[in-house]
Point group: C2
Chain length 224, copies 2
DNA sequence: TACATTTTCTAACTAGTGTTAGGTTTTGAA
DNA sequence: TTCAAAACCTAACACTAGTTAGAAAATGTA
């Protein structure tokens, strides 16, 4: 206990939290240094003691958001047993991702609202972080696919975009107090893996698809 | 052809298109009447002949976006045979939804970027439209579920949020010229219905990459 | 042509923006 | 208590925002 933080760090965090909240509500240009200062119980000029510009502030907010998610997911995956299957890894990643973005919801939402409006240089820097995170997912999916856990025709890049898009949308409607985030996460995982019609309530291994590969495509095509 | 539009309508649309594009790039507060005017080859003051305020403009942009999607999906569903199954309805809705949001991409993206920053009254009005659209999806899902096409444990509200979240994210990464929107839509439908591990090998796109050529759109993807 | 209507422009006003320089208070170690 | 460093504040500067009133141009009809 009694972790001794330097005073400046506390103030910085106060400013940062305020900034995330205000950016989330008013967007990049709509956010005023004076409004942030107000939220942090400061005067506008004082912010410049901690951050040297508005761009500096938004940059910090953006990075915190994606880093929180990356760290959480990385840790959760690392805690998994060596021989964990793709299904388990995906479910774990989904739970971790959702927990993280809900927990730092102000930062996540601020990012969503502000990303397209921020100066190019700042966006570029942050995009590198986001791409690294994307790579983590790509690897999970690729590994599972390599093990034959997915149907062979699955497009992994699309799958990743689909999954992350759906997950990130969650901050828009999730309200604490109701259904727990773990519940939501597990239901999501179920969608991702088995779809709506998927019968496997529990089936860990759909050895059906990949292995035996029935070539009767044309018959199926009409069904759509 | 030669539909005779009143001149004012043409000008209005020019202003509207310009507004959508600028709002999309700079957000609500970041967008200047002068910038919009510039894009529409006008002077700032002239906009006020067509719209009585900036709020009036953004409100119009927001409504157009959601209405385009609602109309397109409604038509596509209506064109289906009476006895179409849930699977077909969902796929149809996905294709229509994706086509629409890509086509009016400026409006859709403007909405995404601006929605949280717009005055409460405007947001409320637009939210009503969005809820109506959500109800369409809820009905599709409920009907399919009632017919026993989904696994019994599926949570339909979550499913809807999941699906629409993933679909709406598409505008962020989809770039015309590569994989066709219909391809993407069908792959999405496949995810939604069968999941990643789902056995149904259909995936149904004629000739995987929209032609033999591995055009390999280097999907400039963003992670989050 | 003439002339009323529609459309656009000009020029300005008020209010609020990010940022800064320099002063004031608070803090904590000696 | 002393006093320098850290943290904060005040007041202002240069600039840009949405909006408006009135003049000017474009348009269409008689």
């Amino acid at each position: 206990m009694t972790k001794k933080l330097p005073k400046s760090a506390i103030s910085q965090k106060r400013v940062l939290d305020a900034a995330a909240k205000i950016f989330r509500d008013y967007g990049y240009a709509g956010t005023t240094m004076r409004t942030i200062a107000d939220e942090a119980n400061l005067k506008a000029g004082s912010i410049y003691y901690h951050y040297k510009s508005k761009d500096d502030l938004i940059s910090a907010v953006l990075d915190i958001g994606i880093n929180a998610v990356t760290d959480r997911v990385t840790e959760a995956l690392a805690a998994l047993p060596e021989d964990a299957g793709g299904r388990q890894r995906i479910e774990t990643a989904i739970v971790a991702h959702l927990s993280a973005i809900i927990e730092v919801g102000d930062y996540t939402l601020a990012t969503r609202r502000v990303f397209g409006q921020v100066p190019e240089a700042i966006r570029a820097k942050n995009t590198r972080l986001r791409d690294s995170y994307g790579a983590i997912w790509q690897k999970i999916l690729a590994d599972a696919h390599a093990r034959g856990e997915f149907r062979t025709s699955a497009n992994l890049t699309l799958a990743r975009l689909f999954i992350l898009g759906a997950l990130n949308w969650t901050v828009e409607w999730f309200k604490p107090g109701g259904r727990s985030i773990e519940d939501v996460a597990r239901e999501f995982a179920s969608f991702v893996l088995d779809g709506l019609s998927g019968r496997s309530e529990n089936a860990a291994f759909p050895a059906t698809a990949a292995g035996a590969g029935p070539k009767r495509r044309s018959a199926r095509v009409r069904a759509l």
